[in-house]
Structures are given as C-alpha cells and as structure tokens.
C-alpha cells in the first residue's frame, strides 16, 4: 500500500509548477541571453525542472509493511524530523554543517512517502513515480540492501541523487556502487573488522561458528566478511551456515541444524523481524544457554523486542546508540529532539536518515545549486561534517561515509537505568582503518551526466 496522503503537493501547486515550467521554457527560447544563460547546461535528471519553484521535492521510500516495517517506520521518523528542521532553520542543522541555513538554498523541502515493502520492484516503481511525476531532486530510503542496490541503478540511469539509509551489504558501495548514490551507514566489511577483535578478546581463539544468514546480498556479504575476519584473526571456523529467505517466521528447522552442528557461537546476521524471531526461537530451542550469541549488524529495536534478558552480554555492531550523547554533543541534541516528538530514544535507522538529509543539504549548499554533477562533486570533496558519531566525511572513490562503528554489549535487565537503556557502548572504533581499499570490491562509479 502506497501512502500518497503524505505527498505534500497539491493539485494547484502542480498546475502552477506546470504553467511556470511552460512559461520558463518559452522565455528561455525567446530570450536566450536572459537569466537562463547563467545556466545553459544540458538538463540532467530532474534538473532544472525540479528546482524552478520555491520548493524542491524529495522522494522517500521505506518498508512500512512486512519483515522490515518497524525499521522502515523508524527511518521515516528520522527523515521527517530532518526535513522539519531544514524547513524551520533549526540550529541543530547549522551545528552539523555551518553551510546549512533555512531550507535548502532557500527553498522549502517537500516530500512524499511510499511503502517499498522491502521489495526492489516496488521500490523502483515508487521512486520512478517520484522522479517522473514529482520531479524529485533527490530520492532516499532503504532497509534492504537488495532495494538499495536496485535504486542505485535507477538513480544512475535517471541521474537523480539517491541516498540509501539502512544498507549493510558490501555491494552498495562495492560492486554495485554508482556515481549518484552516497551511503551513510556502516556495512559488512566495517562491521566485521570492528567486532572481530572484540569477539576474539572475549571468547578466545579457534571457536566454531554457526551463521544464521538471510538469503540476499546483505546476508551473504556480512557472512563472508565475518568469516574472513574471524578466520584470519582468530582461527575461527564455520561449522554451519543456515541460509533462510527474507521473511521467514519459523526458524525451527534451521535452529535444530544449529543445535546439532557442534557450534559454540551463533552469529545472527538476520535483520528486522527475522532477527527478532530467530533470536527468540533460538532461546526457545535452548540454544542460547549452550552457545554464545553475537550480532555483527544490529537491528533497530532488537533488544526492545526480544527483551534484555536475552540480549544481556551479547556483543553487537551498530551504527549509532543513543548513549553516545555522553561523547558527542550533536547526538545529545538529536536525541532530545527525537525524544520530544516520539517519547523514546532514536535507534540507528532514524539517525542515519536524519544525517543523510543533513549531509545532502550541506552538499547542495556548498555546490551553490542543485545541478546534480555539482552536488556530487561537493560530496566528493570529502569535507568534514560534525555528525552524531563525531567527525565524518565521504570517500570520493566509492561514495562511502568514513565513520566509526559502534560496538555495544547488552546490559543485564537490572542494570538498565531507563526503558531504552539496553546497551553499554564498549568501543567506538575509528572507521577509516576498518574499510577495504575503495576498489577492492570492484566499485566503478560511472559518469556524472
């Protein structure tokens, strides 16, 4: 179900824009040396059509139904908060980047929200509509890397900037990277390199791993990166890799296989509801009493849904955790703003969404216009930004944000200071050294126009 009720473009504005466009075209043909001469470049994507009015349109597409619905809704909350802050000229935006003022280049940001159902096809359709009908100047959103990779391709062919949100596959800025896409969050390789030393330190060398892997690009690349890192650094071996389709609800057969595999560590790569159900059922099948659980790529709300008693002592890699506010003042302000609106502390999907919007506004402001190649080049300058996890910048060669990975450990139920206090931050691992060489996963960005 697509929620068009949130498409904030009235019939009137559409008509007005249409008339404006027609007029503008007429003007430019009649008066070749008028104001338009300042921008006599070929149109690229939705430029200049999408920026003629006093507002620009952003297409948001995230799963609101299915396995990843909870994470999708969280993401949308982050986007809406960021857009609200941009349009009102909120000081938090200015603190993230001094270039950001009110709106984006003075234009109001309008948006539409669609449900991707975490399906690439559905997401491609929704974004295509945002581009064709709403002349979206930027499109964003993902919880599944399968969607992120598909929209990467759409973005490159339609020449519209795309910002994936949650996407853990190496491929998103690896073999499927594109010039028109920029990823904020951590991913398989950085997750594996960050959590591996912690796991080896706490569990020792030469352990036997059972993987629970979702069957798509995200699952396979996280499994590969984890297996390589743990094998190389600690001599850990894989005794079974249980691959389940996205949206599995009964993990009993997989878990019985794990129970009989002789593993002593379960590395659960499942995400969203899959992560919640597989973890709960692993407990029901008595696995968590015999084996240690580790979560390289943590799902927002996992601890809230499975309970602190299951997550206590579990090491997890994550993008953001709200107690980072003790180290980063920007995180504190972001938490406060989010909490005031929603009554709970933000999880990492909301944070990633917020930061993506902020960094996009920063790039556009620095580019001085919406012309996509200029905006991309502004991103590629690798300017440092004050994020909720400290100073970050984009790597020009693969459009991946260089940012820390946060390693957390589940708290015992008794040690929780409030209802959202599920984890201790064990380590904030510097992002740069965790990353592969930009071309190691076969990234070729493609053209600007």
């Amino acid at each position: 179900m697509r929620d068009w009720s949130e498409v904030h473009v009235s019939r009137r504005t559409l008509l007005r824009t249409g008339v404006g466009l027609a007029g503008a075209q007429l003007m430019s043909s009649l008066l070749p040396d008028s104001a338009f001469a300042a921008d006599n470049r070929e149109p690229v994507g939705t430029y200049p059509e999408g920026v003629v009015g006093n507002s620009v349109f952003v297409g948001i597409c995230a799963p609101r139904t299915g396995t990843y619905a909870a994470q999708g809704e969280d993401e949308i909350k982050g986007y809406l908060l960021a857009i609200e802050h941009l349009n009102s000229g909120h000081p938090l935006m200015h603190r993230i980047s001094p270039s950001i003022r009110k709106g984006v280049l003075g234009k109001e940001v309008k948006y539409g929200v669609a449900d991707s159902e975490a399906k690439p096809n559905t997401a491609v359709q929704a974004h295509s509509r945002f581009i064709s009908e709403n002349k979206a100047i930027m499109i964003t959103g993902s919880v599944s890397s399968a969607v992120a990779v598909a929209i990467n391709k759409l973005a490159q062919s339609r020449k519209v900037i795309y910002l994936p949100c949650i996407s853990g596959s190496n491929d998103t800025t690896g073999k499927d990277c594109v010039r028109y896409s920029f990823r904020e969050c951590f991913y398989a390789e950085t997750a594996a390199n960050a959590i591996t030393p912690v796991l080896i330190r706490s569990l020792g060398k030469n352990r036997k791993i059972a993987f629970l892997t979702p069957d798509y690009t995200y699952g396979h690349t996280v499994r590969q990166s984890m297996q390589d890192a743990l094998g190389k650094q600690g001599g850990w071996t894989v005794v079974t890799n249980q691959i389940s389709p996205l949206g599995t609800t009964d993990f009993s057969s997989y878990l019985l296989n794990v129970a009989n595999s002789g593993a002593d560590v379960i590395i659960n790569i499942n995400f969203g509801r899959d992560a919640v159900l597989s973890t709960k059922q692993a407990k029901q099948f008595g696995l968590l009493d015999k084996m240690t659980l580790a979560v390289p790529y943590n799902t927002p709300f996992l601890a809230k849904e499975v309970g602190a008693d299951i997550m206590q002592g579990v090491y997890a890699g994550t993008d953001y955790w709200w107690t980072l506010q003790d180290r980063f003042p920007i995180a504190r302000s972001f938490n406060e703003e989010f909490f005031r609106k929603h009554g709970y502390m933000p999880e990492w999907g909301a944070n990633a969404a917020y930061m993506q919007i902020a960094m996009w506004a920063d790039a556009v402001e620095r580019a001085g216009g919406f012309y996509p190649p200029d905006v991309i080049k502004a991103y590629e300058q690798g300017v440092t930004i004050n994020s909720t996890v400290g100073q970050v910048h984009f790597r020009a060669a693969d459009h991946q944000l260089v940012r820390p990975v946060v390693i957390v450990k589940g708290k015992a139920p008794g040690a929780m200071k409030n209802k959202d206090d599920f984890y201790d931050v064990v380590e904030v691992v510097d992002g740069g050294p965790l990353m592969q060489k930009p071309d190691a996963f076969g990234c070729h960005l493609g053209s600007y126009t």
Partner: protein
C-alpha cells in the same frame, strides 16, 4: 556422484540426533498444516468451493485471539475467542457472499474468495498496522523439554496434542453425527439430499463456518509459535493447498495424512539444506499427482 560434495559439506548435520530432531519437528509442522488443510478440504468437499480466503481466516483467528488475550490475559479465552470469531465470520461470509457463487463457474469462486482474502488482510492492516503481534504460550506450556539428544520448546509439543484433539473432534462431527452424515451425503449427491427434504443450504452454512473455525483455531494456536502479521495467511494458504492436493482434494483423512507428509518433507529436507524445503514439497506434490492423480486418499472428483 555430483551430490557427493554437497553431502561432504553438510556431513556434520547428517547424524541420527539431527534426523530424529527434524522428524519430531516435522510432526509439529505437519500437525498444524493438517488442521488448516482439513478446514479447506471440508469446505471444498461439501460446497465445491476452493476457498482461497482460507489463509485470511487463519490470520483472522490469530488476530481475534490476540485481541481477546489483550483484554483477558487468558490463553484459553483467546483460543475460544479466536475460534468463535472465525466461526461467526465464516457464517457471515457464506450467507453474505459465497452462497451466491455456488452455481457460478469455479473461476468466479476462486476469484471472489481470493479477493475476499485481500480485503480481509487489508482491513486488519488498517486496524492494527503491519507490525507483528504475539501472545505468550500458556504458563503451563512454556519452557524447554529435554529429550536427551535434543531440546525442544514445550509449547510446540503441546500444539501436537491440541491439534490431535481438535482433529478427533472434527472427525467425530463428520463421521459420527447426523450433520456429518448429511455432509458426506451432500458430497456424493447434493440434489438427492435436497430432494429428501433436508435443508442443504443450512448444512452448507454450517460446514463453511466449521471450516473457517478450523483455520481460525489453527491461527490462534500458532500465534505463540510465530507472531501474526496481516499477511501471515498467504504462505500458509499455499502450503495448505499443496497438502490438500497431496492428500486428495475433498478428503478429510487425506488432509491429515497430507499435512503430516508435508511437515516431514519440509523438516527432513531442511536437514540437508533448508533452501530446498519448499521446492521438495512441490516435487513430492508433482510425484503424487503422477502416481495417484486424485491424491493419496482422494477418489475421482465429485460431479
């Protein structure tokens, strides 16, 4: 020969402990499938309607039970609430919609029940959202049972008991009551039963209600095992259809046998590679259709 590397790679999972574990798990999966499919097959056998809204009724039972649980905190009342609600829903659907389609072609019946399923799913989504809901197992059935070679969630074992009880009850209704006799006679020759002065319409209504209730009952029993979402019924419907085809369309014992066979196929294949479980289910269905075109316990179709 080409299978050799496959087995070598998985050899650590091919042991007796795992085989027996998966067999028991197959029994649990199969019991639930048997119950869901029996409802589907009773309706088809009696009314001649392949009810593609059956998955949605399974889901409705889950939600009705979950709502009851939320208000009463009682598992028994949740089961009762879920069952009664789907019984009622079944009666309303039969009177309000299905009965107008008895004389229409099968394609129309399939389309209308399929459409009804979509409407029910979206209504529930509208009312309760897309996030999963669950209810805990009753306190006496929580915890883990140890078999020595394996640990198994107690509630899943209890499910087998509850389902067996329900299936016995359904069997008794079908084979030991006057209603059941009329139903079975109606399957053979509805016109003759009508001519004998029996109100077939009312029997049809009762059968649709009972079939719907079987789905709803399964839906609520399943909720502590896998949480419910509005679209939980779609996968179940496909599996139930396969079970009915394997067992013999319209045959009650066939649905039970088919359910157990399907459960074991899903589970034992998973021991080698879970990715092939669903595929294997369809492979077996195809084989059965080759060897026994009317299913394991089915016979040449109704007129």
């Amino acid at each position: 020969m080409f299978l050799f590397p496959f087995f070598v790679r998985k050899r650590n999972l091919l042991n007796w402990a795992n085989f027996i574990s998966q067999c028991i798990n197959g029994l649990v999966l199969g019991a639930l499938l048997a119950l869901i499919s029996s409802g589907l097959t009773i309706i088809y056998g009696t009314l001649g309607v392949m009810n593609l809204a059956h998955g949605a009724l399974f889901m409705l039972g889950g939600y009705a039970g979950w709502l009851t649980y939320a208000h009463t905190q009682s598992f028994a009342l949740a089961v009762l609430g879920g069952s009664l609600f789907t019984l009622l829903a079944g009666l309303v659907i039969e009177r309000g919609l299905i009965r107008f389609f008895y004389q229409r072609p099968h394609e129309d019946q399939i389309l209308v029940t399929f459409g009804l399923g979509i409407v029910l799913v979206e209504l529930v989504r509208l009312a309760f959202g897309s996030l999963s809901q669950s209810i805990p197992a009753p306190s006496w059935a929580t915890g883990i049972t140890s078999f020595g070679f394996m640990l198994y969630p107690t509630y899943r074992l209890v499910v087998v008991g509850i389902v067996s009880l329900m299936l016995t009850l359904l069997w008794a209704v079908l084979y030991r009551t006057r209603l059941g006799m009329i139903v079975r006679a109606g399957i053979e020759d509805a016109v003759m039963v009508d001519m004998l002065g029996i109100n077939v319409q009312r029997v049809f209504m009762a059968v649709f209600g009972i079939g719907a209730m079987a789905a709803g009952f399964a839906g609520i029993i399943n909720t502590p095992v896998t949480p419910i979402t509005p679209d939980i019924g779609s996968d179940i419907l496909v599996e139930a259809l396969v079970v009915v085809v394997i067992g013999g369309v319209g045959s009650f014992p066939g649905a039970v046998l088919g359910g157990l066979v399907a459960g074991e196929i899903l589970s034992i294949t998973a021991m080698f590679d879970p990715a092939y479980s669903q595929v294997m289910l369809f492979v077996v269905m195809t084989l059965v259709l080759f060897i026994r075109p009317y299913g394991l316990l089915g016979h040449r179709g109704r007129a």
